[in-house]
């Protein structure tokens, strides 16, 4: 098998190479000319385009240094993720109906020699926990623009970036069109996503899906759909994050941006569909443990930083400050309360379901006891009469059929939502106190 990698350095830090893997010719170009040498270490990417079918190799997590020799190149190459574009996504899959389609990733090994390296890397790199999400200012602005323009409709989009150790870098994103429940448009949406990713790749944007963003109204994002979408993503990519933006809160000068992921223990339970009281107690999982918030870091390229400093001299008061000083928070709080009350109603419904379950369960147990008692008495009588005793169990009897336990997930989510509303109310009122005392002081003076 004549597989070899031939890398020649052209100028500066740009490399071109031709690689032959079992007769197929590949063209490997590296680096897409990212200007700063520093960013090389993070954005090092190995693009492979074959001429026949369309393949793209992304060197996602490999941190490359300039001192790396050709040998380690091979290693990194095999460690890379390959996205296969030739079979288009099957758009008719029902479970993908709601919002998200995930590109399928698969791993190829380009080189037999380096297989051991792949294994070595795989064992070395077992799950460093995700600690920080690093977002580019560009992405923040894009998300805000998209969410705000369509508010109050809720919108979603895809996040692109790189997964580097315990940091997930989000370097770009693109919005999804608002979807209608229609098969044809559905297929259209999948095409849109593929097209967009292809286009963005052509202009050297990082091509790894790292999650999605969505807008929310007053923070009622904890839904079953979110969990489903997340699980869907998680199956296909190793690390996934969901960024939530709340346009309604930004009118008060707050940057309501949140990065979320599902906790590992919750994902385990969800995968096995184990939402019984017993399992939950075993895992010690309560409603707080479903979502994990990941701290957000913001990064900007030096160029953007220069432009912003240039364009915006230090103004004493900004729009954000005006927004923060708004005295009328009442409509916001009112809406918040409304939602809170609704949620409370939902929760009490869930509680009732639960109580009903317990009551019927204890009634069943009492019935079982009574039946058993009766059977024993009967058996005693039969024994006295010298007959065979009847069995002490009767599976055919309806009172031995276990009553299905109501699902707990919904009530957990509702609890989460309520807690969220409470936090928001507390935060906003805290600010209002500040403002009121400020106004008072101002007036007294």
């Amino acid at each position: 098998m004549g597989s070899h990698v031939n890398i020649m350095e052209s100028h500066g830090n740009i490399m071109e190479s031709v690689m032959e893997v079992m007769g197929t010719s590949w063209n490997v170009s590296l680096g897409h000319g990212i200007m700063e040498r520093k960013s090389w270490q993070h954005h090092g990417k190995l693009h492979v385009k074959s001429w026949g079918t369309s393949w793209n190799v992304n060197l996602g997590h490999g941190i490359m240094k300039e001192s790396h020799t050709v040998k380690s190149w091979k290693g990194y190459f095999t460690h890379s993720l390959v996205e296969n574009l030739s079979p288009p996504l099957n758009p008719k899959r029902k479970e993908e109906k709601r919002r998200v389609r995930v590109d399928k990733f698969l791993i190829i090994m380009a080189n037999t020699m380096a297989r051991s390296f792949l294994q070595a890397v795989a064992t070395e790199e077992v799950a460093t926990p995700l600690r920080v999400v690093q977002i580019e200012g560009l992405v923040i602005l894009k998300i805000i623009k998209h969410c705000k323009e369509f508010s109050p409709a809720l919108v979603t989009g895809q996040l692109l970036g790189l997964d580097v150790g315990s940091v997930l870098e989000v370097t770009n994103c693109f919005p999804f069109p608002i979807q209608e429940e229609d098969e044809e448009i559905e297929a259209d949406g999948a095409n849109y996503q593929l097209e967009m990713m292809r286009c963005l790749r052509e202009v050297n944007v990082d091509n790894n899906t790292v999650g999605w963003y969505q807008s929310t109204m007053l923070g009622c994002f904890q839904t079953v759909e979110l969990i489903e979408t997340f699980m869907n993503y998680q199956e296909n990519i190793r690390r996934c994050v969901c960024i939530i933006y709340d346009p309604s809160r930004s009118n008060q000068g707050a940057l309501a941006l949140k990065a979320l992921k599902l906790s590992d223990s919750f994902m385990d339970l969800y995968r096995n569909n184990n939402f019984t009281g017993e399992k939950l107690r075993e895992k010690n999982l309560s409603w707080v443990d479903i979502f994990e918030e990941i701290p957000i870091k913001v990064s900007n390229s030096a160029l953007i930083s220069a432009f912003m400093t240039e364009l915006e001299p230090d103004t004493p008061v900004t729009q954000g400050d005006y927004d923060r000083l708004q005295l009328s928070t009442n409509p916001f709080l009112e809406r918040n309360m409304e939602f809170l009350i609704e949620c409370m109603d939902d929760l009490s419904m869930e509680q009732q379901k639960f109580q009903f379950y317990y009551r019927s369960q204890s009634r069943q147990q009492a019935q079982q006891q009574a039946w058993l008692q009766k059977r024993r008495d009967e058996n005693k009588a039969r024994k006295a009469a010298g007959e065979e005793p009847l069995p002490e169990e009767d599976p055919a009897n309806p009172i031995f059929k276990p009553i299905p336990e109501p699902p707990r997930l919904e009530s957990f989510l509702i609890t989460n939502r309520i807690a969220n509303y409470c936090n928001q109310i507390n935060g906003v009122t805290g600010q209002s106190f500040n403002r009121l005392y400020l106004t008072k002081a101002l007036h007294d003076n």
């Binding site: 870091k297 432009f307 912003m308 400093t309």
Partner: protein, 287 residues
């Protein structure tokens, strides 16, 4: 000498462009910078399409942008038109209100190839805007300029295209909302929370008030020459405080305070309820 009407040197419809201004969303600048950083290795500049709309008062509102791959040889420009159209279609799917309004290029001012690209965009939309962003900081500052093209024709024959600069509105309300603190620096470790934002704001406000005090004191004591404009501004801002009698004002503030307190009480009681319910539920689950 009989000068026929046909041979008059004609400038294009310049009256229409007189009132034109361009308003640029900060996202566009961010995107252009990002594209420039990620440009192909041989490319000297990046160009792309600007999306947005023309407002009723003639302002061109540039709200979005995407880069279009291109190649430039000495006097030829090859633009990936197919890419441009695919991207446009995709963008229209998301937001049908954003149409092409022009194109951007990095670099200072208009260069030779620009006329050709501009001609292409004139076919896509009438009177496109050309935005240049000087990413090299060649003149020591990042210059952002917008142009429209005016056709210079001699009779029927087009002679040249003249690029006329139009004013650019770079006020970044949106970026202000996000906060310059996080957009200006290259790395921010943490997003500011609500309360921190409030704290910074209070400090700033206090500074401003102190500044005004200082200025007024200085003027009164004759250390600074009085400026009528500033005086008018100060009196205006003082007058903008609503005049309320103390009891009315107190009532207003107290009512509001009590509303807020009630809300806090309610939310804390809800939380207590939640944790109680959880405890009860887990207790009830025990066989």
């Amino acid at each position: 000498m009989a000068v026929s009407e046909r041979t008059v040197l004609q400038f294009g419809p310049s009256s229409a462009t007189a009132s034109l201004t361009a308003k640029v969303n900060p996202l566009v600048i961010f995107n252009i910078c990002d594209c420039f950083v990620r440009r192909p290795d041989q490319a000297e500049r990046v160009i792309g399409t600007l999306l947005g709309s023309v407002l009723p008062d003639g302002t061109v509102d540039i709200r979005n942008s995407y880069v279009v791959p291109h190649n430039e040889f000495s006097d030829q420009v090859a633009l990936d038109i197919e890419y441009h159209h695919t991207m446009l279609k995709s963008h229209l799917k998301v937001n049908p209100q954003e149409a092409i309004v022009g194109w951007f290029s990095t670099g200072l001012g208009v260069t030779g190839g620009s006329a050709l690209i501009h001609e292409f965009y004139s076919r896509e939309v009438s009177n496109p805007v050309h935005l240049t962003v000087d990413t090299s900081f060649g003149s020591g500052e990042g210059t952002i300029k917008a142009y429209v093209s005016v056709n210079l024709s001699l009779g029927d024959r087009p002679l040249a295209a003249q690029f006329q600069e139009i004013p650019v509105d770079l006020r970044m309300i949106e970026a202000e909302r996000v906060g310059f603190d996080i957009l200006k620096t290259t790395a921010v470790d943490k997003l500011p929370s609500d309360m921190e934002g409030m704290e910074v704001l209070m400090e700033r406000l206090l500074c401003l008030i102190n500044d005004v005090y200082k200025y007024v004191d200085d003027v009164v004591e004759g250390r600074v020459a009085p400026d009528n404009c500033i005086g008018i501004l100060i009196s205006e801002s003082v007058a903008s405080l609503p005049k309320l009698s103390p009891p009315v004002f107190d009532k207003l503030i107290n009512d509001n305070l009590q509303d807020q307190l009630l809300l806090v009480y309610l939310s804390s009681i809800t939380r207590t309820q939640l944790s109680l319910a959880e405890k009860l539920n887990t207790a009830a689950q025990l066989p």
